[in-house]
């Protein structure tokens, strides 16, 4: 990540990126799947129709043959594939730009909703009050991914990081960091040199 990109995310000069996480690959797969099904659908229907001419036995279409290699079919297929290709790439880009960055001071959550909606939220470790993990569904349970709910102090706001791989591991890491920050603060408050 370049310094300009770090600045755009509000990362300070002495701040170090500890970890970068994206949504689980299954989330990407689930988002791409409808487009893949739509991509295959007309070809599957055409293949089925051409392999079953008996379906048209008593209709006017019986005398006509469908040539799958004809330029008209190819033209229609190319337009269909082109538009779905753009859609699939947009889904991938959306997935890739959704990122969760952990620095030594805070967590930055970048939510990209399509090409024209981008939300960057950040919260410092010392402001975190509660961290909850939510794993819902059979795939999430088997593949170990889920949502991480982070409740922060001050603003009554809850950050939800969706589709995070190994959410319990992230939760433990956050809690450890919070613990180390609070014990460091306690040491500062109860320094024997001050008594």
């Amino acid at each position: 990540m370049t310094r300009t990109q770090q600045q755009a995310l509000g990362i300070e000069e002495r701040e170090h990126i500890v970890d970068t996480a994206r949504k689980h690959w299954f989330v990407l797969f689930a988002n791409v799947l409808p487009s893949l099904i739509l991509l295959m659908l007309p070809f599957a229907v055409l293949a089925y129709l051409t392999s079953n001419p008996a379906l048209f036995a008593e209709t006017p279409l019986a005398e006509r043959t469908i040539d799958l290699t004809s330029p008209v079919i190819l033209y229609g297929a190319l337009i269909w594939v082109s538009l779905l290709w753009l859609k699939i790439f947009s889904v991938w880009m959306d997935y890739f730009l959704d990122v969760w960055i952990t620095t030594d001071r805070r967590i930055i959550d970048v939510e990209q909703g399509g090409f024209f909606h981008r939300e960057v939220s950040s919260f410092r470790f010392e402001r975190i009050q509660d961290v909850t993990v939510e794993i819902k569904g059979i795939f999430a349970t088997l593949l170990d991914f889920g949502d991480l709910h982070v409740q922060t102090a001050g603003e009554a706001r809850e950050f939800i990081i969706r589709g995070l791989p190994h959410p319990n591991r992230h939760k433990e890491r956050i809690l450890k960091k919070i613990q180390s920050i609070s014990s460091a603060q306690q040491r500062t408050y109860h320094d024997p040199a001050d008594v």
Partner: protein, 84 residues
């Protein structure tokens, strides 16, 4: 004997209308699809330059994206030319 009134607007001849419905329509559809391609590519490049320039995965994805898009656009142009 009076001719029946034409359904076409004034200035639009049957030949022009037939042309639009024939080969020209295919070129118009191809043009629209290619315009969508170019618009999409511009938005993708903007996001790449702004947010993902330093990423290797993004670079590979861009190569795949432009490679596949170029092949699809080329095939679309060739098929349109063959059909027209």
């Amino acid at each position: 004997m009076n001719e029946p009134p034409s359904a076409l607007p004034p200035g639009v001849t049957d030949a022009l209308f037939a042309g639009i419905l024939g080969g020209n329509l295919l070129w118009i559809i191809t043009g629209v699809v290619l315009t969508i391609f170019v618009g999409h590519a511009l938005i993708v490049v903007y996001h790449w330059l702004r947010y993902g320039l330093s990423s290797g995965i993004m670079m590979i994805a861009m190569l795949i994206y432009f490679g596949v898009s170029a092949v699809l656009a080329g095939l679309l142009l060739i098929t349109t030319a063959v059909l027209v």
